[in-house]
């Protein structure tokens, strides 16, 4: 993967003489003090990050954390006070008027929190806008706009005005309008915050779907941790204009960089983010088919467990045998294959914890995590699931097991 967009030490300060404020921040004077003393507002301070091509990168923070200011620096609705923004290796912060116009027309498009639609234009005319500004002919731009109306599922609404649509539909227009320009980079400034929860979830899924098909580089702003972790390949957390941590959702959950972030992610529904492989433990007490029942009972005794998983030579799962079955088998001189039961519940490594919970409740035995070819990757006990929901970190906990 190549770096699409590189933000390097970007600061944005609002006020009459922003450059003078930079040394003050370097001295560590707080945002509030600077505002009280000089009347300047620190929007973003010294933000650096790299965003990969085709990645969905989420910038998360509370209101006033500078996330909207930062995203507006990327298409220069805000000119950064200092720092550089490289898109495909070119510093866009230094662009002149013509270059900037071209950059905005061709490379980058934005979706707004309150949609930013043109209320005097129909849906179709709204979506055409970006192409119209470029000087494309009416027939051509209508054709493209029509295609994107269909992408976002608004066919039949071409000639409606925005005020005739619901909030969710309006934001679909916003997304279609941005996509119609065929930008490399799509900026989304809290696009779903103004929508009610049901519609929001629907739109999130739809965005993931669109992203799967189009593979744009998306920079997505939100104040909602659940949304951030659901959508983002990687997430940057901002606080008071500074970037606190950048990482994948799992990394941030596992190792929050500061108390602030721990606090931030405390209320998150971990079961929707953590996957089987994040909470499983190394398999133990495995018995090979060729080992036979005596070895199986011995393994169980050694490990202090009452059941063992049976594999073949390639560590592919065959079944499970309990201590009772084993003893019964030995008495009747049966083979391991004859006594073991094969109804073991297995899950894929990328299964979300929330989907595993029902299995755990229903099964008497541990859940086995297997690859597609049934190779055992790990096992999940009930305690692991519980621990994943509660604990602040998901380090593997060696628990005394009782199955």
């Amino acid at each position: 993967m190549t770096v699409k967009l590189k933000i390097e030490n970007v600061s944005k300060i609002f006020g009459p003489r922003p450059k003078k404020i930079i040394p003050m921040i370097e001295k560590g004077i707080s945002k509030e003090e600077i505002l009280a003393k000089t009347g300047h507002t620190v929007g973003v301070y010294n933000a650096s990050m790299e965003i990969m091509e085709g990645e969905t990168f989420v910038i998360m923070g509370l209101s006033g954390s500078g996330k909207s200011t930062l995203i507006r620096c990327l298409n220069l609705l805000n000119r950064p006070t200092s720092g550089a923004i490289y898109v495909d290796g070119e510093n866009v912060a230094g662009y002149n008027k013509t270059q900037l116009k071209y950059y905005r027309q061709k490379k980058i498009a934005m979706v707004f929190q309150h949609f930013g639609l043109f209320s005097h234009r129909t849906v179709l005319e709204n979506i055409e806008y970006g192409l119209e500004v470029r000087g494309m002919s009416k027939v051509e731009r209508q054709k493209i706009a029509q295609k994107h109306i269909e992408t976002v599922g608004l066919k039949g609404y071409e000639n409606k005005y925005p005020d005739e649509l619901s909030g969710g539909m309006r934001q679909r227009v916003g997304i279609a309008r941005a996509l119609a320009n065929d930008p490399d980079i799509l900026l989304m400034d809290e696009p779903f915050s103004a929508l009610d929860p049901l519609i929001r979830r629907e739109m999130q899924l739809e965005l993931l779907d669109i992203q799967n098909r189009l593979q744009k580089t998306i920079i997505f702003i939100t104040h909602d941790v659940n949304e951030a972790f659901k959508i983002g390949d990687r997430v940057a957390v901002m606080k008071d204009g500074k970037v606190e941590q950048i990482g994948t959702p799992e990394e941030i959950l596992a190792k929050p960089a500061s108390n602030y972030i721990s606090e931030f992610i405390r209320d998150i529904d971990r079961t929707k983010i953590l996957q089987a492989e994040n909470i499983m433990m190394k398999p133990f007490g495995l018995v090979s088919l060729k080992d036979g029942l005596n070895v199986a009972t011995q393994v169980m005794r050694e490990n202090g467990i009452s059941s063992a998983f049976v594999t073949d030579r390639k560590r592919q799962l065959q079944g499970i045998v309990t201590i009772d079955q084993a003893i019964e088998g030995i008495r009747h001189k049966q083979t391991l294959e004859e006594v073991m039961s094969t109804d073991v519940i297995t899950v894929a490594p990328d299964e979300y914890v929330q989907d595993i919970i029902p299995y755990v409740l229903e099964s008497k035995y541990p859940i086995v995590v297997t690859d597609e070819d049934k190779t055992i990757r790990g096992i999940i006990l009930r305690v692991h699931v519980l621990a994943s929901i509660i604990s602040d970190s998901t380090e593997e906990t060696e628990l005394e097991t009782e199955v």
Binding site: L77, L100, R104, M110, S119, H120, E132
Partner: protein, 301 residues
Amino acid sequence: MRGECDCFVRCSPIYMYEFPDVRIPIGDVVEKFTDFLAINFEAFFDFIFIIASGMIKGLEAGLLAIPWWILMIIIFLLGWYFTNMYGGLLFSFFIFLIGTFDLWPETMTTISIVLISVVLSLVIGIPLGILSAFSKTMSSITRPILDAMQTMPSFVYLIPVIFFFPLGNVPAVIATIIYAVPPVIRLTELGIRNVDEEVVESAQSFGSSTTQMLVKVQLPQALPTIMAGINQTTMMALAMAVVGSMVGAQGLGERVLYAINRIDISLGFEAGISIVFIAIIIDRITGGIAKRLQKHRRNAA
């Protein structure tokens, strides 16, 4: 010194209570400036006079050429389209009443003066409003001037105007413009400034040029507000009908003045109510246009 006096007032120097004898002759300066303009820019004012009086005469002749019943139908249809059928009926009944007052030609003259004043006000006002919306300096310059134009008694600027133009309809039009142009300037500025910031940002984010932004986004978005300004301007122009007649404008205003001199209550009322009728018709029709424009622009940010 003080102890010798029985009271403070009697001892105080006289200049504490009387205004010192200084004179700052702003009035004289304005008068000299007016003279200067009248002498040196005669050709310019003649040019304006020819254009303006030509426009008024043309429009007046055009209106008078329309048979009364066709005008009634036109007013009915406009009223129907922009308000409702009852509005249309009422408006054409107003026109009919004006006919029965025997004030038809005067009414057409007044309408032409008002329409020309309004058109010229818009030609001047809308660009000024746009400039004020984009430049803070421009805005801070125009604001006090507009305040002065609106509060200065209109009779006062009738005086210099008659220096530049012969008595008649043209000085009335100029005075009307001075009186009526502020609302359209103010509301154009307000309308453009009040366009939703996110809408402006979204137009910017697609790489619109300044002109594209103005023509495709800001002006259409501001149109309902601008329309309200046009409506205000029109009403104020009508209110100047009588004052304009003091510098020789013809029409209903002149009839009102005539009635005042004769103490003719009947004529005064008929001419006066005719002005009211026209005001109502124009107000409701422009109001209806504004409402139509407003329809899709309100809810969707």
